[in-house]
Amino acid sequence: SEVRIAQQFGIGYLPMTVVKEQKLLERFVREAGLPEPKVTWTQVSGAAAMNDALLTGNLDFASAGVAPMITMWARTKGRLDVRGVTSLGSMPNYLNTSNPAVKSLADFGEKDRIALPAVKVGFQAVLLQMAAAEAFGKDNYGKLDPITVSMSHPDATIALLGGRSEVTAHFASPPFQEQQLQDPRVHRVLSSYDVLGGPHSFNIVYATGKFRDANPKTVAAFVAAIDAANDFIARNPKEAAALYIKAENSKLEPAFVENLVTDKATRFTSAPENTMKFAEFMHQVGLIKEKPASWKDLFVPELHGKAGS
């Protein structure tokens, strides 16, 4: 049998990279008493393509940010029944700016431009709206939307660091946010952890109900593999960083990557954190029609034993 998995770019997918490089899924499937599967790994460049691939049956495990995964859950509920299989850990996303006058959200002016991968709908856009709701009141969650612009992380980083464009801020993700902060002209306005009051899951692996029902042991093995990978990362951050650099053919400094991995805000865990806050907010602003009763609605039973939220 074949298991088809897709991941995206970035340090946030490190657990999957470890699973891939160390062939952990193969091992746990074997240990569950099934014949060793052929695992096919694919890299996909965005959530939209990821979802299409999952919906057309070209993928078994898809991975994307929390927001797209919740959208997917809401839209397929009662039919394809997509659910999260595991979190890929919690990482903060920073809102960085090159405008020295900006110390908080309230300081953004007409002339500022905040870059996001996708205005209004993406993970960072939802984060920014949640932050705006906190800063300006529940109903003013959209206050900053008019000054947001869509841009991919690398493009936004170039724009911000180049200093020649109107982009003065960027709601980034690792490792771009750290790369930006190496430039003295750039400083952090807020971290997503501040917005959610603590760590929150960043990327989620998800699968359809049909696959889960047909392959319960594979799903369990996948969770176990991620757990084992997280364990490895926690114990051998240096090797994990080296593994990442090799797998991604990255030109980043090993020390820089290691710092990302060992950052105390970063937690590589399979347990979903603060996902319900996302779901509630997305429901509140109308991005999804239905609200999950609890985080357990969003995830497979295999995870329900963990300390999720």
């Binding site: 397929t76 431009r113 008019p146 869509s150």
Partner: protein
Amino acid sequence: MAWRPEREYRPAPPGAIGDVSQSLPWLHRLAAREDFWRLAVLVALALVWEGYGRWLDDDLLFPTFSQTVAALWTATVSGVLPLRTLASLETLAMGYAGGVALAAILTTFATSTRIGAALLTTLTAMFNPLPAIALLPLALLWFGLGTPSLVFVITHSVLWAVALNAHAGFRSVGPTLRKAGHTFGLTGWRYVAGILVPAAFPSILSGLKMGWAFAWRTLIAAELVFGASSSGGGLGWFIFEHRNQLLIAEVFAGLLTVIAIGLVVESLVFGTIERRTLDRWGMRR
């Protein structure tokens, strides 16, 4: 050879032959009309779409024609789609105009000098295969975020097709017509406008048609890549936004709008121009 008699005949008078030229019944005339067949093709395609959609039964992946039309209706009535379409058309018009203007300059240059011709063919071979994202850094640098950059990319996509076709058209203008123009005392711009442009019009028009198709393609793709600000945003953004929310019927409604506008422009704008010019001048290939 055996001898053969000569013969003379008294031909039937015109009246005796019946109508030398008779009207055909309406069914024949209908079948001879291009529009009729185009409409038939459109209807057939809609039916195939509906059928396949129903058979698939997966509105997350491929909504049916009727679902799409329903979504189109809702989005139109709510005013969102018209607004977005208008925004796109505005950008498109600017980029298209820019591309055509630049193409005019480049082609004039290419037509009048050797190095100009080399410049045009080389630039076209170089830049035509480049996707819009390749221009992103320069666009951002020169024009900043939003519409101006979009206009730049559309200009780029239109420019080469139009310039290439116009250049080919100019080159194919016969020496007789050229000389005739010169004899009239026309030189420089008056010569280009008075002789070359109308004489190369079939080629120019086909370049314009192709440029139009690219402009759309590029716009939709570029709106995703280039900082669409949330305040504005065109059709491309409409599509992307709904795609992100997995509202696929709306996505298809957006695409259907693109198609509909394409068909309208093709048959109304370009079709009318063709009828008014090429057909009347006997220059249709």
